[in-house]
């Protein structure tokens, strides 16, 4: 071979020359191998770092619809006029050579230093861009905008690879004007971004939740992004609980930049649209429930829940006061912010799930069941109410007038002494066991454990008090009228009422019906979240339940019943009122008023629970609100038939 022939040469000097050349080429070969093969990755990385700018592109959020497919949360296109600086480089150069530098040289003849040249190039860029901004804005807005030189300088240094936003949130008319009149301007283009919109404003806001701009960077991302386009994170409600599903997968835009930082090319890994979410709510009923709550004033503190008693679907869940979730996407006024942070109004709180209150007389339903189950309640047997009940040395006032009461009468007039008597006979232990059948003191598991309160209810077994003191008969008496060692949420009350209505099945409430990716849209029929999941069965005979249902009917339909205000012609409503005292250190601070009900009596379909804080009484404050809700239900049934709530509805 050529090389070795040379090395074997007799001519010694030439042999040395061969060795020199061979070693030299060997060094180059080794060096090249090291740089290009051994540590090539390192240089590839440096190249990526200097050449690519990765931008996180948030995915369009999944929509939220009601049980019949009406939109509760959607994405609206948000139009923004952007300026792409890389398209203006020729103009920058032209402006610099023909205007800025010329003027400078006219004033200061001589050489231009590097610093002066850099400064003048910056000035030339600003002149070109601000002129364009002036033109675009005067055409679209009618009034010209002045580009802030420092804002532009910062954009040029920090985010040159990204377009410079000029005008945000264009109206449809402004978009039309842009299309028509801005086609001749270089480097200007329209960008469309999806923006969350809640078309019904504050309707169902507590169920939906709201979005907030994501400020801190979550560390779940694997890719290290150079830039992040604004993204929103779901707070509260289903927006919060199903944030990951609704949000989808963010896309990655990888912008190739040149040595100055101008965008040359971009590749995009498209974001994956989030899944759509279907709720069990019905917008019409939801609005009716919210309007009913606000009957006595917009700042009424209360909650209303409508449940399908046949399967536990939540048809409406209202909480008041409320707020508009759209306002979080823009800026919030100081007044609105103060209202949102008011400790008494607490508009953020979903009172139906996160408010826990003493049930008052509503709990008498449980006392009745426990007494029936124990076999020591004869509905026909009368009891003499002397106007008060004595427990030990304590005298508990009775709102029902003195006289003889059988079960129905006692229930109708909500006779405290009757139920205290039966409560004491049955004993705290059995009362507590019956309460556990309805899941008191436990979360229903409706959306997310974080968004729900369990309330409070003693544990089964030997009754124990929360504060550790001994359980006395007085505590049993107190519990018998829904006071003391018990607080429940309106949703728990609704599930209890539904169980009475449907013949003894306590369902797990369902608020989310389906979660579907965009591809499966329309191919509906089967809900991804099962309906009618049974939590427990009430261990009592049907005839005993029928006694309670009759008593609840009497409470609404018979004269003297506490729930008469909920009477609706055309639908036989059965109900029970409750007024609980909010005590602190023995003093009555406030009242919580309740009305739990179901309808129709003959074949129950709906349970409606209304709770109002600081109300006058269950019958006076809550029953009329329930009536308004039943009216809406009736109207809906008349329009869509009685089976509307069971019919399948898809995501449109």
């Amino acid at each position: 071979m050529l090389v070795f022939d040379q090395l074997r040469r007799a001519d010694q000097q030439l042999r040395w020359l061969s060795v020199l050349v061979l070693v030299g080429l060997g060094i180059l070969l080794a060096g090249l191998w090291y740089v290009q093969v051994a540590v090539s990755q390192r240089y590839q990385k440096s190249l990526d770092v200097q050449t690519f700018r990765t931008v996180r592109v948030p995915a369009p959020r999944g929509r939220i619809v009601d049980r019949q497919g009406a939109l509760l949360a959607e994405n609206q296109p948000k139009f923004q006029v952007n300026l792409y600086l890389e398209d203006l480089r020729e103009q920058f150069k032209f402006e610099y050579t023909n205007s800025v530098r010329k003027q400078f040289l006219a004033a200061n003849p001589g050489r231009v230093t590097r610093e002066q040249s850099v400064a003048m190039q910056g000035q030339a860029r600003y002149q070109v861009v601000s002129n364009l901004v002036w033109q675009v804005s005067s055409r679209i807005l009618g009034t010209p905008l002045i580009l802030n030189a420092r804002v532009f300088a910062r954009h040029y240094v920090d985010t040159l690879a990204l377009p410079l936003p000029i005008i945000n949130n264009l109206t449809a008319e402004q978009v039309a004007v842009f299309m028509e009149r801005c086609g001749d301007l270089p480097g200007v283009d329209l960008e469309v971004q999806p923006l969350r919109n809640y078309p019904n404003g504050s309707t169902a806001v507590h169920v939906l939740g709201y979005l907030q701009r994501e400020d801190e960077i979550p560390d779940r991302d694997e890719v290290v992004y150079r830039y992040r386009l604004p993204d929103f994170v779901g707070k509260a409600g289903v927006e919060g609980a199903f944030d990951a599903e609704l949000r989808g997968e963010a896309g990655v835009k990888s912008i190739q930049v040149n040595n100055i930082g101008y965008r040359m090319r971009e590749d995009q890994q498209a974001p994956e649209v989030g899944q759509d979410l279907q709720l069990t709510l019905d917008v019409g009923l939801q609005k009716a429930a919210e309007n009913a709550l606000r009957m006595s004033g917009p700042e009424t503190r209360g909650a209303a829940v409508v449940v399908d008693v046949r399967n536990g679907d939540v048809l409406a869940m209202a909480s008041s006061p409320s707020f508009n979730p759209n306002s979080f996407l823009g800026t919030i006024s100081v007044e609105e912010n103060n209202r949102l942070n008011d400790p008494k109004l607490t508009p953020y709180i979903n009172r139906a799930l996160y408010g826990a209150y003493a049930p008052g007389s509503v709990f008498k339903i449980v006392v009745s069941l426990a007494a029936f189950e124990a076999g020591n309640l004869d509905p026909a047997k009368t009891y003499y109410n002397q106007g008060f009940a004595m427990v030990g040395r304590r005298r508990i006032k009775d709102t029902a007038p003195e006289g003889n009461y059988d079960f129905k009468e006692a229930f109708k007039y909500s006779c405290n002494s009757y139920f205290i008597e039966h409560g004491l006979t049955v004993g705290a232990q059995r009362l507590i066991e019956m309460g556990h059948v309805f899941g008191f003191g436990q979360k229903t598991g409706v959306v997310s454990p974080k968004q729900e309160r369990a309330g409070y209810f003693p544990k089964t077994g030997l009754p124990q008090k929360k504060d550790g003191t001994t359980w006395m008969d007085g505590d049993t008496a107190n519990l018998s009228i829904g006071q003391g060692e018990i607080v429940i949420t309106p949703l728990q009350a609704a599930m209890m009422t539904a169980a009475i209505a449907n013949g003894g099945t306590v369902f797990k409430p369902r608020l989310v019906r389906s979660l579907r990716g965009a591809l499966e849209l329309g191919s509906n029929g089967i809900d991804s979240v099962p309906s009618g999941v049974v939590r427990s069965l009430i261990p009592v005979k049907q005839e005993h339940l029928q006694h309670i249902r009759r008593a609840m009917l009497a409470d609404v339909e018979e004269t003297g019943g506490t729930g008469m205000n909920s009477f609706v012609p055309g639908m036989r409503v059965c109900g029970k009122t409750g007024t609980a005292q909010v005590l602190r250190e023995g003093n009555v601070l406030d009242h919580v008023t309740w009305f739990v009900s179901f309808a129709p009596f003959e074949s129950p379909r709906y349970a409606v629970v209304v709770m109002v804080e600081s109300g006058a009484s269950g019958g006076a404050t809550c029953a009329p609100k329930a009536r308004e809700i039943y009216k809406a239900i009736l109207a809906k049934e008349q329009k869509q038939g009685q089976g509307w709530a069971l019919a399948g509805g898809g995501i449109p």
Binding site: V21, G24, L28, L29, L32, Q44, L47, N258
Partner: protein, 404 residues
């Protein structure tokens, strides 16, 4: 055997066999291959940033001119050419001097004489003239070479162009005269002790110089051109800032350092990111996106472009072609009919080798940045013409290896 036949006069008239006078074909093929690669990648490097660039056409034009010049050169026996050695040598010395009077200044150095269509760079031609002059001077009886006078005069021939080119300033090109001169002396038969003495002296001087530049406080430093000092600091990875610098000075020094090491850093990224197989012709981003400065991508840093677009395999191909040229050159030197031919060939081999080693070495940070072009691949008329004429000299030595 053949030689014996000629010398014993078996053939009455020693007519030159056309096959015997033939060119060294592998050398020609390697040369053409390098020119093709050069044209292809100058096209890639220049049109990536400026689609209307016609630099590759100019390069092809110089290839043609160079090949014609080399062919013409081969018509005349090198011995005849060597007779004009002194004329060539002093003519180029004159031109080098003339650069200071009529030269054009580019990138802070005066290296070119503007001929209108062509920026003539005398230092390139000085290398060739030097080879011929040195070969001619050294092709004398071996006994004379042992005298210090001859050694010193030969050294003087080397130093004269060195000093002139150093003044341009073009340190890289100037320093090239030493390997050429010394290797030629060594091969000619100058006693190694002379060379070793000179080398150890020069080596000591260089080390002192480097220590001075790199470590001494500013007042003690030898005045170098700023850019030279910077290049050395970059090469040795030294901080630009002086030890007692204020934060502001340090800041400025760091910025300057970033600027000064920019070319090397970008060249390394280009070469390294090419990986094993490269990104494909015209697919390299370092050049098209402007990271590799447009002014150097097609000339001094053409190797970066090739290495990025064709990867390690491309680099090996280029190295192999140069290896072919060099070893054929050495073979030609060994087969030359006399010491003049041998020295001419050795001079050309050293010239090409130094260029290749320094230029490719610079692309992977083995060598400091100098304006030494890559023979035949780098864009540039003077460099292309000289490289082709140099290879023409090799062919000449080969063709006339047995004409007596």
């Amino acid at each position: 055997m053949m030689l014996a036949q000629y010398s014993t006069g078996i053939f009455p008239s020693p007519k030159i066999n056309p096959r015997e006078r033939a060119l060294e074909w592998p050398l020609l093929i390697a040369m053409v291959a390098l020119m093709v690669i050069g044209a292809i990648f100058i096209y890639s490097a220049s049109t990536a940033t400026d689609p209307t660039s016609r630099l590759y056409l100019r390069q092809i034009f110089f290839y043609v001119v160079g090949v014609v010049a080399a062919a013409v050169l081969c018509l005349v026996d090198y011995a005849t050419i060597a007779r004009w050695a002194t004329v060539f040598y002093w003519a180029t010395i004159l031109l080098l001097a003339a650069v200071f009077v009529v030269g054009t200044k580019r990138f802070g150095a005066t290296r070119w004489i503007d001929l209108g269509f062509f920026q003539f760079q005398p230092s390139e031609f000085a290398k060739l003239a030097f080879i011929v002059m040195q070969a001619n001077y050294l092709s004398r009886p071996i006994e004379e070479l042992r005298s210090p006078g001859v050694f010193l005069r030969s050294l003087g021939l080397t130093l004269l162009p060195f000093v002139l080119i150093l003044k341009e300033p073009d340190l890289g090109s100037a320093l090239l005269f030493f390997p050429m001169g010394l290797v030629m002396m060594f091969v000619a038969g100058t006693p190694p002790k002379f060379l070793l003495r000179f080398l150890s002296g020069a080596g000591l001087l260089i080390i002192l110089l480097l220590v001075d530049i790199l470590f001494a406080p500013p007042r003690w430093q030898i005045k170098l051109e700023d850019y030279q000092r910077h290049r050395l600091l970059v090469y040795f990875g030294k901080d630009f800032a002086q030890r007692d610098a204020t934060p502001a000075e340090r800041q400025r020094a760091r910025e300057l350092q970033r600027q000064k090491s920019y070319n090397v850093d970008q060249a390394l990224i280009s070469v390294g990111s090419g990986g094993l197989t490269g990104k494909g012709w015209r697919q390299g981003t370092q050049n098209s996106l402007g990271y590799l400065p447009r002014a150097v991508a097609h000339n001094d840093f053409i190797f970066s472009v090739i290495a990025e677009e064709k990867g390690f395999l491309g680099s090996v191909t280029v190295l192999t072609l140069y290896g072919l040229v060099l070893f054929i050159g050495i073979k030609i030197a060994g087969q030359a009919r006399d010491r003049l031919g041998k020295l001419l060939a050795v001079g050309v081999v050293t010239l090409v080798f130094s260029h290749v080693f320094i230029n490719i070495g610079m692309n992977i940070r083995l060598m400091p940045v100098t304006g030494i072009p890559l023979p035949l691949l780098s864009y540039g008329g003077s460099s292309v013409l000289c490289s082709l004429i140099a290879i023409g000299i090799l062919q000449n030595v080969h063709i006339y290896r047995r004409s007596y």
